[in-house]
Amino acid sequence: MALAVLDRYAEVPWEDKERLFEEIKADPRFADYLYGCYECGICVAACPSARFYDFSPRRIAQALAREDVALVYEQIQDDIWECSQCFSCLRCPRKNNPGGLVTIMRETAVRNGLRSAKQALEGYSRIIYKIMSTGTQVSPDMIRADAFPDWGPTAQETGDNLEVWRKALPPETLHTTSMSWDVDPKTLTELYLIWHLTGVMDMIKEIDEGLHMILLDVMEEKLEDAGYPVS
């Protein structure tokens, strides 16, 4: 078959590809996100990533609709991390949600510790650490000239004046530098419990064991002190 000739991952056992495909289809949101495809290309025309990458939300929807197991596997490894998750593709007249399908495919890639997920998240660990440990995604102390040289001289100026500029913010919750706002410690403990109870910690272990250990170190004592049953 022609598709077999184009299969970039012919060495990967079919059973593995099929298992991943079934995992994607089993997500409760899958049926809400895919109704078929008119092949009109409106999603591609609206897609920012399609302008700059070899990426097509239409191809995502079509491969899943046709149950093209080999192509879906190829997309999980090569395509899905280019998506901007802006959801411009929701313009679809068939009411598909290609961006949502990508979200499910990415989750599947992370849960299974696939190479594409590990590569895509290289350099991203500190962000995951920040959001999972502080409950806020970015912090003021991330703004440094060496981290954001492309942001121009204001990155240097902000970094140099960070402590004082944060104190010069009228809302009392914003006098922080290591988190976006001052999150109550009890609130953080509740967030940690959510990560444990929903399998998110297991997902982190699949893609980055070192990060998993650091997060466990931060969370376990607080959860135990608070009397939450984490086993």
Binding site: F52, V110, Y124, G135, T173, W181, T198, I204
Partner: protein, 399 residues
């Protein structure tokens, strides 16, 4: 040297034809389902506190926007990197005398990370949302959500919880372990909807003439593309063909709102791209948005209403200079713009020193003496450094 280009089109006046629907829209109103689940005892649905403003959403439904007693669900990107965004929202509430609370018992929605890395799942995202809603409910205040992504994502979560009883059961179990009830607000409200609802009150307090200010608007994807039926549309703004928030505010404040061809494009944020693949973000922001706005509308400022959009459009303008791309437009939220128009301090309140693109020409055109205001802010900082003041306070701002 910047080239002065003509403004090619000023909108958003109605274009004559009014588009109306003769039949009810088939899309479900998920809010009805939320109330049905409340009637079955599945969760608590806190009602929008009065007084509220009725606004119209995309398919003609009515949405209630609470004016006060609001629980401010802050944005991590705003508070962390562009804090004048959050501060301006608070200042507008204070100036209008509308009660609010700024909680510490709040986490990020964590959706920035979810859309960037997928290191989460539907149950975790729903539990984070409901934990925050329960925290708001405990205070008796009603959530007003600052971030467009939080707003859009929470509406996705609401639909998932409504349609998937197994997800509700799982989240109910988690909430029980946290000792919290299941809570889903009657409406999910974005701050820009509140700004839209109070735009006439803001305009009544305007002290700077904006009639010579040209504005372009970047509508935030996660505000009006995610769960699109819940976004505000208004026949007086672009004939009801685009979301009305931000454009209506700028228009009501007396600025000229100019159209440009790539208004539907996203900003280039990309969630993971802005952090670890910024070549894409910069290229898209400058080539598809900033340069197009400059060529077609030559605005004095571009306004938007989400965290990532301000960050992306503002911070992406520096590096392309290396390629001779010098188009520059100041970027801020409509809350900051409205506050400036009402006399807010550009540094104590709007915190414009955290922004990258040069905003000073805009301030000068608005009649704001930025040199004197900066001197005042530097004095504040000096007093903080010397230990004469611990923090800048709202009392300092109001003085």
């Amino acid at each position: 040297m910047p080239i002065s280009l003509p403004v090619v089109q000023s909108a958003p006046a109605p274009r004559g034809r009014v588009f109306t629907r003769s039949a009810p829209d088939p899309a479900e109103d998920v809010r009805e389902k939320v109330l049905e689940l409340e009637a079955r005892g599945e969760w608590i649905v806190p009602r929008v506190p009065g007084p509220w403003v009725d606004v119209t959403t995309k398919y003609g439904r009515t949405k209630k926007i609470p004016l006060q007693h609001t629980w401010h669900h802050k944005s991590c990107g705003q508070c962390g990197h562009i804090p004048g965004y959050s501060t301006a929202i608070f200042w507008l509430h204070r100036t209008l005398g509308l009660d609010y609370t700024d909680p510490r018992d709040q986490t990020s929605c964590t959706a920035w990370n979810y859309y960037a890395s997928a290191t989460s799942n539907a149950a975790a995202q729903a539990a984070v949302a409901l934990r925050n809603f329960a925290a708001a409910h405990e205070t008796g205040y009603f959530p007003q959500i600052h971030c467009g992504t939080s707003y859009g994502h929470y509406k996705e979560v609401r639909a998932e919880l409504v349609h998937h009883p197994e997800l509700r059961a799982r989240v109910r179990d988690i909430m029980a372990k946290l000792g919290k009830p299941m809570v889903m607000p009657e409406e999910i409200v974005h701050y820009s909807e509140w700004v839209y609802a109070v735009r006439d009150r803001l305009a009544a307090r305007r002290i700077h003439d904006l009639s010579d200010i040209t504005v372009t608007v970047h509508p935030a994807c996660h505000y009006y593309k995610l769960v699109q039926e819940d976004a505000i549309y208004d026949p007086d703004i672009y004939g009801g063909q685009r979301t009305a928030v931000v454009s209506a505010v700028a228009h009501t404040l007396g600025a000229r709102v100019a159209d440009y061809s790539t208004w539907f494009d996203c900003c280039g944020f990309g969630f993971r791209h802005i952090l670890v693949q910024r070549d894409f973000t910069r290229s898209f922001a400058v080539q598809r948005k900033i340069e197009t706005m400059k060529e077609e509308a030559n605005p004095d400022v571009t306004l938007t209403h989400d965290t990532g959009c301000v960050t992306t459009l503002d911070k992406s303008q520096f590096a392309p200079r290396a390629h001779g791309k010098t188009a520059s437009i100041p970027v801020m939220s409509e809350a900051q713009f409205a506050a400036l128009a009402m006399g807010a301090h550009p540094y104590r309140v709007c915190q414009l020193h955290w922004h990258a693109a040069d905003y000073r020409p805009l301030l000068e055109k608005m009649g704001i003496d930025w040199r004197e205001r900066w001197r005042e802010f530097e004095d504040d900082c000096e007093r903080i450094k010397k230990g004469e003041k611990a923090f800048l306070t709202w009392e300092d701002v109001d003085a």
